[in-house]
Symmetry: C2
Subunit: 126 residues, 2 copies
């Protein structure tokens, strides 16, 4: 429970969207924090390991993080322009994934599902 980890968690909480490690680092530095990039990465790693934040990969392989409110399994509806994300659930998708996996003899099924779109605000602004 270091102070630094709290700082990073809080920086994430202040955003509704997914942020990259580099983004968070830049934000914190510009707020005057003397935090190091290494520490930001370590904090994000720890938070994601403990399941407190969600991670996903952008199209170019960069890892982006988000502090989610729901702690149950969920997916995201992400604005491809501003990055804003909404937490969504899809029981039918969970069922489908399990079924399709079983049908092909696969076990230990997991899945990744993300939905992208342009949010109302960004659509109006463009």
């Amino acid at each position: 429970m270091s102070t630094r980890r709290e700082t990073v968690r809080q920086a994430l909480n202040e955003s509704t969207g997914f942020r990259s490690a580099q983004d968070l680092y830049a934000d914190l530095r510009s707020e005057g924090s003397k935090i190091g990039l290494t520490t930001v990465y370590r904090a994000l790693q720890a938070l994601s390991d403990s399941g407190e934040i969600d991670v996903l990969r952008t199209g170019d392989g960069e890892a982006v993080y988000r502090a989610c409110i729901t702690d149950t399994h969920h997916h995201h509806l992400v604005c491809r322009t501003c990055g804003k994300a909404v937490e969504v659930e899809g029981p039918q998708v969970e069922r489908w994934a399990d079924t399709v996996g079983a049908q092909h003899g696969f076990t230990d099924i997991t899945h990744t599902v993300e939905v992208f779109g342009t949010c109302a605000a960004c659509a109006a602004a463009d």
Copy 2:
């Protein structure tokens, strides 16, 4: 339509699973080809731009490619041990994604869905 691009496409065709650029490069070199890594990347880029192959990102950000048989929209059931992939469809998932997007005022909905598991062969082997 250079020879090199064909070479890469063919190397991909020979595999049922997703392969990384480095994998393919290693394979081709070990077969005696004098192809360069740069060219492999260029070929994969071109093939994926033209929609001839599918790309996805592994958990650690590496890009992996696969020559898929179906040319309609589909998803993958991937073995997390051997990488073998099966092409699957999920009309209900497509519908769910569109619905959920619309409900939140998002437009231009797209989605990524991948299912992971352990295939029967790998489960038996372990």
